[in-house]
């Protein structure tokens, strides 16, 4: 019998906080992150003085953040503003706890892209392909989806089901930004941004902040909420073809497969044990790539797999139950991890996955990571 991973269930999420999501020009990353931090402390009944580890992401200065919150941590980590850093940050915090470098870590993420009119392309993010007019993560995902259409016969109507299902979940989430139901016909009528991708294949851009607080699992019962364990995680990076940003010619299939296998092995769960899946949905095609990479369906079959409600609440694999990046909030993976925690606590109301015990997070990106959370 294989020995159990020494990292399984070492860290737990004891507090989560999210701000309102929208357009907040009157504040900034520090103000939003402070709101999320206060909310997470209150959520877990955690004393601020217990925080001895700090992770900041998409916040300009770690020192100013610590000053704003009055924190002098033993251990800290600053992450670049890419969404793919959410999985990395949570895994690093769990490792810091497992190795005794910190006992209670606050992870803070803030985004002010809406109020500051961030475009995610053009002059903001120069790259080698600018003279040919190729820019933006959406364009890279459009190139991947076209390949998927050509290789496997996937259709935009199948892709539409991803946006429609995730919007349906947002409609059950009172905090979500987009709460008007959409249909496949709405998707097919939406304007192209980077054909074959349409507006409804794109995530939102909104302001907001997220905080998660992690502690050692053995202390997790001392706090106000039922603990949620970080049971397994895995990752693979794909940097050797980085010239085309946010792109992988093979849809990050093998990195996602390997990260998923590693996470399941660490957690000691099978694919069939996963009650809900939170997949980084910056653009709707990544949901299909995530399903294939994790092996929930064979390669090339994700378009057919999602048809008929499979990924909706009540289906066999509910996904992005908060409405994801497509319809809840563009919190770059952080809010999806919070949703995993909230589902396992069981307080999600109309969008609750009944008896959720195992929830998986995955980010199919150049830094692929997957995390498996279980009820403590």
């Amino acid at each position: 019998m294989a020995s159990q991973s020494p990292l399984r269930n070492k860290a737990a999420v004891i507090g989560v906080g999210t701000t309102k999501f929208g357009n907040f020009p009157h504040t900034d990353e520090y103000g939003l992150a402070a709101d999320a931090f206060r909310a997470a402390l209150a959520d877990g009944g955690i004393d601020k003085r217990a925080i001895d580890g700090l992770v900041v992401c998409r916040i300009p200065s770690y020192a100013r953040m610590g000053e704003v919150l009055g924190l002098d941590p033993r251990w800290s980590l600053t992450l670049p503003p890419h969404g793919r850093m959410s999985g990395i940050g949570i895994i690093e915090a769990a490792l810091a706890i497992a190795t005794g470098q910190a006992s209670t870590v606050a992870l803070l993420y803030a985004n002010i892209g809406r109020s500051r009119r961030v475009n995610y392309g053009g002059e903001e993010s120069p790259n080698v392909w600018d003279p040919w007019g190729f820019t933006s993560p959406g364009a890279a995902h459009a190139l991947m989806f076209r390949r998927h259409m050509e290789l496997y016969g996937t259709t935009t109507r199948q892709l539409a089901e991803v946006s429609v299902a995730i919007r349906a979940h947002a409609c059950l989430n009172p905090d979500a930004v987009m709460r008007v139901p959409i249909t496949i016909e709405d998707h097919e009528r939406a304007r192209f941004i980077t054909e074959p991708l349409r507006l409804l294949d794109y995530c939102l851009i909104n302001d907001g902040a997220v905080c998660l607080i992690l502690s050692a699992a053995e202390r997790a019962r001392d706090f106000a909420q039922p603990p949620v364990l970080i049971s397994g995680f895995g990752g693979r990076d794909a940097f050797s073809a980085s010239a085309i940003p946010n792109f992988d010619i093979d849809f990050w299939h093998d990195p996602v497969a390997e990260a998923g296998t590693e996470a399941r092995a660490m957690a000691g769960v099978e694919r069939g044990d996963i009650d809900a899946l939170m997949a980084y949905d910056n653009f709707s095609p990544t949901v299909l790539f995530s399903l294939e990479g994790l092996g929930f369906c064979p390669r090339g079959e994700a378009g057919r797999f999602v048809q008929g409600g499979t990924i909706r609440l009540g289906g066999s694999l509910p996904m992005n139950t908060d409405g994801g990046h497509l319809s809840n909030s563009y919190m770059q993976g952080w809010a999806l991890n919070v949703e995993a925690v909230r589902q396992l606590r069981g307080g999600c109301g109309a969008r609750q996955v009944p008896d959720a015990e195992v929830v998986q997070y995955v980010q199919a990106t150049p830094c692929t990571r997957s995390i498996i959370y279980t009820r403590g």
Partner: protein
């Protein structure tokens, strides 16, 4: 009116590529030690790490790996061109290039054969683009 689309940032590493394009050639950095062909150029070969790098002319042929139409102008200079086609080409020598597709795209499909054409967009800058064969 001058040319208003973005122009390349030409560096010591990329100068040979742009010089070749200006002369109507598609050149790729090629490792003198192991022969690996790569783009964009780097200080060392990503395969064998040799710093001895040459530039060699590519055949200018390849296959279409994907294509899209940009319907949004991230630069004002592209506004009048909307929607414009962007293609992903695998050169016969191996590297992947993002480029513009010119000419009739009715035959676009995965694996379609393409060849380079040169578009002198300014007096100094020529962009390699591709057309379906």
């Amino acid at each position: 009116m001058g040319y208003e689309k973005p122009l390349p940032t030409i560096t010591r590493l990329t100068q040979p590529f742009w010089d070749a394009a200006h002369a109507g050639r598609l050149a790729m950095q090629t490792c003198r030690a192991c022969g690996h062909v790569h783009f964009p150029p780097g200080p060392v070969c990503p395969e064998c790490l040799s710093a001895e790098q040459d530039w060699k002319d590519a055949a200018g042929t390849g296959t279409l790996e994907s294509w899209i139409a940009m319907h949004r102008a991230y630069w004002d200079g592209f506004r009048d061109a909307l929607p414009y086609p962007v293609g992903l080409v695998r050169l016969t020598e191996g590297p992947l290039l993002v480029t513009n597709l010119v000419g009739d795209l009715a035959g676009a499909k995965l694996g379609a054969k393409v060849r380079v054409v040169f578009d002198a967009v300014t007096e100094d800058v020529t962009l390699p683009k591709f057309t379906l064969v």
